[in-house]
Subunit: 256 residues, 6 copies
């Protein structure tokens, strides 16, 4: 069920019967020469809407702009400051409680949002309002992702390429996959991301000239479809698992 | 040109040549028994994307959740607190300046956002960063809108109904238009919105039982199309007018 | 009853019997070549104190500095940033609740404060503390004001001129009324305040060279007296109407 | 020169020639059974306006509500939270710099404001904007004050009583001076304000049943007049001393 | 009992039986040519740990960096902005309540922290969470301190010198005591800290070339020991006095 | 060189010649039945002081209280809210720039601080003030740590046990190592920390009854010494590497 498509009287029954909401969040940021800047929010929205359709759980509209200052040197990257992102997400999530929502899945497709969603989740949980957890599709099927590609990459790599080839093929520049690989950072061993244990880099451009990592050339729409379905299964299961929990079990434990 | 669909190298030329961005903003909130909760962001996105396509100016992704606490008594209304909304919009708009953007049109379709976009606009202009103005489609064609309907209404009335009938007909419950009219506040004269000059109401529900105003029954997709095109023309003209201004003319005048 | 003139034991009975406070707020900002910068706070204080005297309701001291950045190009304009204004007003209003106040009339004479007082009002109402409404004198007698002058104006025009001629005649430069009219923006038709529906101006100086609008030459102290009395009647009525409301009726309605 | 009484063109010369502003700040809070709640802002305004008249320096309108939570148990006390007070004062003071003001005297008559005005003063000075100092009348003539009364008191005592007897005699309940003394804390030795060196009290009511300290019975309007004139002389001298300083001398010294 | 040295199960009994915590706070800032920059936090920690050991009350780790912008012109001075200091102290103190703490002694050895600890104390008390008071060793034995030295000084003077000679003798440059005296401000009469009653200085360097005041040459470790023991006795007594208070007595009194 | 032990004149040469500061940060939180609550700040301080002594670089005092809400169910855990922690660290770090510091190593021994130090580091770097990186000892010698113990653990496990056995043996309850292991979570496989890819736990107590993980029984002071020395070597190398970088190289790269 997609909240934005419904008229309010048609939502009454849902809020009477359920207390779970699925919230897609992504970013708008460079994803190399071959992928659209909307990659992360397209993926998040794809998963969230698919799981909502399969389960009947409520999906909200998508948050399209996230925490991406580390990609700003590349044209078009949009971002908000971290405190602003946290407060924005906290505010609308907290307000969902007014309708009876007490558990939320942040379907997130941008690594840069993770820690902030966790921080918001703690705020909401620690004051007893809402239990919110963050889900990234690739974390739910790590082995499948590893097997699918020779050289993975956390940003703009083959796994994101395959997903967009599956979800929005017209937005992928298939003729630039080799350029994406050759102009970026194929293997992490090439990178000097740490010095004596300290993470020394702050921006994507510190490590990769074209903004992406991994080898994109073995991505295909078919692989994308397979990964999408497998991870969607996980999200469906997660939604049902979460909906079935007693609320008290989700809240903080008492002091010893 | 839609930012989220582009790969970063394909945006270089735009930022070299232009400094204007079009930003759609709406809300997700009840729009009566006949319209979807996404009405405002659907309309904002519709105008922004159309004008961008016609002019070649850059359109960003849509902000789907705005300042709607006054609709919260109806199922599904989402909102953020005003300070949070302002900071979120300010943050990503300000960051667009990093790519060279120095003028922005907030294509807004939610009345509750207006004053906040103006406040953000002042912050950005007063420190010399960006000149941002707020545009609502109906403000650009007031006479056309007045003529089109017998009983207009600022929220969920015939003009928004007609636009959604045009843009997303499958989301309108045409069989509920009479119920929308009869269950809401048809004419403002019926309302007691002020007492001795003071605005006394805070929430939509204070005035209207089903959340909407006006007479929706004479809305048609054809009227929606006509209004959409007329207002799109205005937005196109506004974009071109704004792009042609010297930056200094847009900045605050000096002290007398 | 004026709070600042009373010793604390003499206020006990008021707080026992009543729960209404009248709070005057204005600005200190340019009002053209003919009017004092204190125009708005003088007017607000005038109405608030008069109504308090007539009704016995409690009036607090005046907030003299408001949200006036749009007048800053003219010598002497003082202002605070909007978030600071909101927090200041919220803080002392909220603290009035400690003495039992649960309803407040913001007697405001500065247009630039309106939206901020509304936002503060919502904060106080939504958490169940205080019901606060904003009142501007001219909104309470729109027809009288329209009839009184040939060319009105929202700032420094004949209606504010007439009121200061009535309240503080020694502060009006009567010999500059023609200069005020001729050096300002007499009729709004002359202005290009909007482009294709978008409000494009931010500062008073964008539209008016001397900071004021309308035709001040037909303002007189007698007209000022008449308007003052008529609007004071409205404020008296509003105070009594508000005092008579059950508190629950003033608080937000429940979720549908 | 009183800013609020002037039309903007008449301020041009001042800002051309001078860069000093005098800002009166007080509080609205209980001052015992004999004095009005406005005591502190009446005194501050009295001194600031008198000094401005004598010297020609610019005086702004008065800030009537300050940091007085420690008096809240007594009817009518108004207050704002400290961070809000600081931000409000900082905001309008900082904005005075837009007109060329670079030095400010906070004419303050409320002890509870002192540390906050100092903190604001540091913010403004450390970033090189404005040099602002806080002045309390009794600090400028400590010996005179000590000699004038047998039992002084920091709040609602004879020195404040005498000043209001001089400035606004109609607001003093002269028939309650004995009651004020007998119902309050006459001598500090009676108080147990510290335990083993730690200040243990937070609120006025912790030490004094009627909110005041000292022996008010030897206050007279004549003593008030004498103190007012002596302290006004000091403020006049301070204004002239400050106006004569080179700006660089007022700014922070360099790092050693 | 020192919290940081204990394993959590060994703290259970304390929280069962007691509700008092001792929190040492100081600064890291210049203390002249003869004393270490850690002087204030060394002293605070010294007193807090000694009192905790003697009484069995719980002592927390030390806050080493406080509000010291007024010493920044001297190499090495560290400081945080006042709002940040207040929020940091408020946050960890408030969280102590989660374990049952309802009264706190801030053992503070830096004058620049005092007003901020008072402000935090009010926040915690006014919402009924914790009663926190600020204690500075020299305030508890003012007569002893006065008698001990010919020329005292509030910063880097003989009393702080003597304490560090007692607590950490290896950190005192005894061969620089004369230089400290001669390069600083020996007697306050030399200073022009006020003009006509207004405090005009903001930074230590405005008054003293080497950052310190008073005559350090008659400081000895033996005097330090004596003062330390006398003030420790006071802190012990304060702790026991505070622990014995009923909680309700420590909370704000009711409205009259 | 330890800043807090130095008198300010003795720091002049350092700031003339160097621009690096080492800042130790930890936490005060439960570390199981066998380790002191100060474990993390003891370790951080140990490394920072050792490296400063070996290299001559400047070490500041330690931040003893960090972001530890996830341990709050266990007696004695202290914590500050994340925004407060970030602002506190940002404030004093930023102020170090006043003395010429332009690069900082946060020697951190608490996992819960990492993301916040990174966020602060970005703030400082993005505005061109300071390049700050976060270093955790175990990240610098991952292979050594892995080899040293059969069952490691991120919190209160054998590696932290060994370090405290080395640094402060008197604070380790060696007789509780078995109890620590048996009452906690020995192996991560036992945990259900994720559901379908989503991290579902928020608090330590969700996974471990006594607050710790891993098998502590093969920790020894000798292993602690070996690890301490190896990681100290890394920190020394990191300090020298960082000091040798040209400042421009550490700042953000330009827009492509």
């Amino acid at each position: 069920m997609y909240l934005a498509d419904e008229a309010w009287p048609d939502l009454e029954r849902y809020f009477d019967e359920e207390s779970l909401a699925i919230v897609p969040l992504g970013s708008t940021e460079q994803h190399g020469p071959h992928l659209p800047e909307g990659t992360d929010h397209i993926i998040a929205e794809g998963f969230a809407r698919a799981a909502a359709e399969r389960t009947g759980f409520l999906c909200t509209p998508t948050i399209n702009i996230g925490v991406s200052p580390h990609h700003r040197q590349f044209h078009g990257t949009m971002w908000v400051e971290p405190p602003v992102f946290r407060d924005y997400v906290e505010s609308f999530t907290r307000n969902l409680a007014y309708h009876g929502i007490d558990r939320v899945i942040f379907v997130n497709a941008h690594g840069g949002n993770v820690q902030h969603l966790r921080e918001v989740g703690r705020r909401l949980r620690d004051d007893g309002t809402i239990y919110a957890i963050e889900w990234m599709w690739n974390e739910s099927i790590p082995d499948l992702v590893d097997e699918a590609f020779a050289q993975n990459g956390p940003h703009g790599g083959p796994k994101e390429t395959a997903l967009i080839q599956h979800l929005r093929p017209e937005l992928v520049h298939d003729d630039r996959l080799e350029a994406a690989r050759d102009g970026g950072l194929t293997s992490f061993d090439e990178a000097t991301m740490r010095q004596h244990g300290a993470r020394t880099f702050y921006d994507a451009i510190d490590n990769t000239d074209n903004g992406v990592l991994g080898d994109q050339t073995d991505a295909t729409a078919e692989t994308g479809r397979r990964l999408f379905e497998a991870a969607s299964d996980q999200l469906v299961d997660l939604s049902e698992w979460l909906a079935a929990r007693p609320f008290a079990e989700l809240m903080p434990k008492d002091h010893v």
